[in-house]
Symmetry: C2
Subunit: 303 residues, 2 copies
């Protein structure tokens, strides 16, 4: 089962009905996939890489790795107010995964298919190489040009809000609960870490927002990105920040892996959690005290 | 210079005018890129990963690695008779590259920009993580649905042809010439390896072909793919196969890395090199002797 093309066949079988359908005119098996588009919509596209012991524990169940890989990658399209359509996955695997024969990649593909089914998308193309474990996912969707939500659309005085409670995935990491005993019975914190939800369901709720992004690196850091892009600062109230059960304010501010959306708007947006306001002065404050944006930096440099 | 966002800025500067323009409504810097589409065209998409000491020598000049990474990835779209539009690059780098500060990634980006300029495309999005060197490139283009060229469109009796001489890149590898003394003065074999051309220039020439793919894994193996997809076999004449200067018939048959197109058609296609015919009997023959398809297999399994 270690032949490259046999492994690719096993992965495609693991994807099942998620390898092609509807707007996928041509799925896996040729030099490229062919995808139909919707008139008057633009394409939106983003790419992410997930690495073992950075984005997931190497020994995590592969179906959880696959699910998480797709969801966190598609979150970037929800943040732009797009509709998800398809993704491509380039997978590098080596001895530890190959030792399990086709099982590891098939379970990974099944986890991806689960996420794809929930998102209503297809995994219509991919690539397989032998090398240090690396999962690159390019995600694609469509958006009406007038609906594109950018980071740069914020204005001083606007309200800041988030679409859900923060910090649960970070609490899972902090508490060392990242390797579940049973992938079918996750604790609530493990569920937050492995089965985050790209918030496409919140698109109607945030339709009047003028700026936004998804919180992947921690609220303070991602808010810093929004403020930099919008040319303003922000003032947060700690008592307003929705903190997930089992998490702390620190988890919510600096932890990352939430994938809730952070948005700025003129009026309150029903269903979202207000956390503060954008300010004319640059820099972040929490309860009027300066707050240094910090979060995950792959290269460990100073911010 | 090791801060993640400073490195991303350096890469974007290295891309220069190739980070956004024309059909790219929104380039790097937000959660996703936004791309305009052409009415009545479908999207075509493919993803590839390039690894050190598999797809390029780790110590190769980064500008050559960047150029090669884009060209070989886009070759898949030329094989579908598409028009190239944009790509996304997810890059993992670690100590050896980071030791060079921003220089390594800037030179890599410049090499990508060179290829992007020649292809008329943009590198409108990407991702940067710290990990074993890995370059994932998702490539995107457009195609009129009636022009899509598939592997499966071949019929017994059709003529087989290739768009250029084969084997030069394989000869470069075989002769151990893969690390150039001067990246600005490549030998012809090194040029074939590092500066392959995705054959978008051949699209008009192959317009009446009914099946095709690009030769990335060696003529025999890629012809095997075309035959399997088309449900037929093939008969080759060794005296007809165009062999690049400095290469051998073995290099051409089994070497890979050519990126010329292999096509099947009812009539001879002017400008292409006829190499044989498709047959009703399955299997490949060379000068009437059975030929085992062999080429590069990342997992070293039996074919």
């Amino acid at each position: 089962m270690r032949n490259e093309f046999a492994l690719i066949d096993a992965i495609t079988r693991g994807l099942g009905d998620r390898a092609a359908g509807e707007w996928i005119s041509l799925g896996p098996g040729d030099d490229a996939a062919v995808i139909s588009t919707t008139p008057n919509f633009a394409q939106i596209a983003s790419i992410d890489t997930l690495l073992p012991d950075v984005h997931f524990p190497a020994e995590a169940p592969p179906e959880l790795i696959g699910y998480r890989a797709l969801m966190v990658s598609f979150s970037d399209l929800a943040a732009m107010r797009g509709v998800p359509r398809y993704c491509l996955v380039s997978l590098s695997i080596d001895k530890p995964q190959l030792a399990l024969g086709a099982d590891w990649v098939v379970l990974l593909a099944r986890g991806m298919a689960d996420a794809a089914r929930e998102l209503g998308i297809y995994v219509c193309g991919g690539n397989l190489t032998r090398g240090p474990l690396n999962i690159a996912v390019s995600v694609h969707g469509e958006v009406a040009p007038q609906q594109i939500l950018r980071r740069s659309g914020g204005l001083p005085g606007q309200r800041l809000a988030v679409t859900g409670a923060l910090g649960a995935a970070a609490a899972c990491v902090r508490r060392g609960q990242m390797v579940p005993a049973d992938s079918g019975a996750l604790t609530p914190l493990q569920r937050a870490y492995y089965r985050p939800q790209a918030r496409f369901d919140a698109l109607a709720m945030i339709m009047s927002a003028t700026a936004g992004l998804d919180i992947s690196d921690g609220l303070s850091q991602d808010l810093g990105h929004l403020c930099t892009a919008s040319g303003c600062g922000a003032s947060l109230q700690s008592s307003s920040i929705p903190i997930a059960e089992g998490a702390t304010l620190e988890d919510a501010l600096f932890g990352g892996d939430d994938y809730e959306l952070l948005i700025a708007s003129d009026e309150p947006l029903p269903g979202t959690y207000p956390i503060g306001v954008l300010t004319a002065e640059s820099g972040l404050t929490l309860d009027s005290v300066p707050l240094a944006p910090k979060g995950f930096d792959h290269f460990g440099g100073e911010r």
